[in-house]
């Protein structure tokens, strides 16, 4: 009897009502596995899915379109070579990709020693900002959610996070830049990121990060 069989495999029953895969997450994991198996179309698919968001991030960090394109190329070639290192038990594909891209972007920024750029002037002039509807992986809802959470942070915490994440400054450099004690900057950074996590808690799962 089939039901007896199911009953005897009782560990299966809790799964029966939770059947729909999370498309984005599982697709990304499958793509990374295929890339690790040296599948070119899978890399093309991953690039098409994430090029907007990663290029937007790199433009924000480097404020230079050519440099950002060069780093974007490096990032995806690294994905090609290192996809087998991705371990889904240690984090999401999105986190892995973003951490890789940002790390490469910050390395390039530090090499170029171009931190004295004018933050306000650049990105909008050199880039073609696209509509959110065109970004498959990241809808405007996600940007809205994180932007709103960031806006809720006290100004000094927000500024510390932005200087570290997008401008690649270390805590000591931020302290010098703001004329604040190093201990204060460390506290602001830690508290700011904790607050951001709390504001995003329970929402990140549905938005893929």
């Amino acid at each position: 009897m089939p039901f007896l069989w199911l009953k005897s495999n009782s560990r299966l029953r809790p799964y029966i009502h939770r059947l729909q895969p999370k498309p984005g997450q599982e697709d990304d994991v499958a793509l990374l596995k295929a890339i690790a198996g040296r599948n070119e179309p899978a890399l093309a698919q991953l690039y098409d899915r994430y090029r907007f968001i990663l290029f937007g991030l790199l433009i924000r960090i480097l404020n230079n379109r050519e440099e950002a394109e060069d780093v974007l190329q490096e990032v995806f070639l690294q994905v090609w070579r290192k996809a087998e290192n991705f371990d889904e038990s240690r984090g999401r594909p999105f986190t892995w990709l973003v951490t890789l891209a940002r790390s490469r972007g910050i390395d390039r920024l530090r090499t170029l020693a171009s931190r004295e750029r004018v933050a306000e002037a650049g990105a909008r002039e050199v880039s073609e900002v696209i509509s959110d509807a065109a970004t498959d992986a990241f809808k405007s809802e996600q940007r809205g959610l994180v932007t709103k959470a960031l806006a809720q942070l006290p100004d000094e915490q927000k500024r510390t996070l932005v200087l570290a994440y997008f401008d690649g400054l270390t805590q000591s450099e931020i302290a010098t830049r703001l004329g604040a004690p190093l201990g204060t900057v460390k506290t602001r950074m830690r508290t700011g990121l904790m607050n951001l996590r709390e504001l995003l808690a329970g929402k990140g799962e549905s938005f893929g990060f």
Binding site: W5, L6, R11, Y15, I16, L19, Q20, P21, E26, D27, V29, A30, K33, A34, R38, N39, E40, P41, A42, L43, A44, F52, I53, L54, F55, I59, R60, A68, E69, L72, L77, W80, G91, F94, T95, V98, T99, A101, R102, I106, E128, V129, I130, D132, F138, Q142, R143, V146, T147, L150, L161, A164, F166, T170, Q171, M189, R190, L193, L196, L200
Partner: protein, 250 residues
């Protein structure tokens, strides 16, 4: 420094904002502390959320071309299998011992060529299946489900993908060998219904197995998947133990 000191540094490490000496010290600690490594992963996930704040920007199409061109170069280098078919003129030094040595060498060369040919054929088949699988996965509306080995199948893994038409493909790895006359069989399980049988397959000698099947309409979007060991011809209702089942997806 003690564990708690390092722990306090982790959010800044997730933002790459530590000074070089602090980062070196923390990295050494991370090598030996799984708790802190786990915590770093969590903070990195929070920090990564900030990546969606800048406006998305379209890179030049040339970037895609450059990336794929590099990848193709890499693939073409990797696909060249060096056959060392040296044609030494051993017959010229014909003597009884030389002839025996030549026959042995010739036999060894033939055997190695056959082995290389078989390896090459297997690689090509694997590549073709892998490509087909990715095409299926990347079809709009395609679904993917991971299966994990349990009990007798512990350590085995499989991925099942299917598109809107029900065309399904399973790729399994690290499967235990099946006894003579037996095979693995796929099952589609829907609540309050009898398990629906899929096709059977036998893995190769390193435990890899592939299966193409048509998913029953009732199983669309509401099935879990299981793999049992059954008679090679397949059965209508499962009789053997479950070796793999779909993972918890929620």
């Amino acid at each position: 420094m003690v564990h708690e000191d390092y722990k306090e540094m982790i959010p800044a490490r997730a933002l790459s904002a530590l000074d070089a000496a602090e980062e070196r010290a923390l990295n050494e600690h991370l090598d030996n502390c799984s708790e802190c490594r786990k915590e770093l992963e969590e903070w990195q996930a929070t920090a990564a959320a900030l990546a969606v704040v800048p406006a998305p920007v379209e890179p030049s199409p040339a970037v895609r071309e450059r990336i794929l061109s590099e990848v193709r170069k890499d693939l073409s280098t990797a696909e060249v299998i060096p056959f060392s078919s040296r044609t030494r003129n051993v017959w010229r030094s014909f003597g009884s011992l030389g002839a025996i040595a030549a026959v042995v060498l010739f036999a060894a060369l033939i055997i190695s060529l056959i082995v290389l040919w078989q390896q090459n054929r297997t690689m090509k088949e694997d590549l073709a299946q892998s490509k087909e699988f990715v095409e299926l996965v990347t079809t709009p509306g395609a679904k993917v489900s991971e299966l994990k080995g349990i009990d007798l199948g512990a350590g085995a893994t499989a991925t099942l993908a299917y598109d809107k038409t029900g065309h399904a493909m399973l790729m399994a790895d690290k499967l235990p060998n099946v006894p003579q006359g037996k095979a693995y069989q796929l099952w589609f399980i829907v609540k309050d219904k009898a398990p629906m049988p899929g096709k059977t397959f036998v893995p190769d000698n390193i435990g890899k197995g592939t299966l193409k099947d048509q998913m029953p309409a009732e199983a669309f979007g509401s099935a879990i998947f299981a793999i049992t060991v059954e008679p090679a011809a397949g059965v209508d209702a499962p009789t053997g133990p479950i070796y793999l089942r779909s993972s918890d997806v929620n």
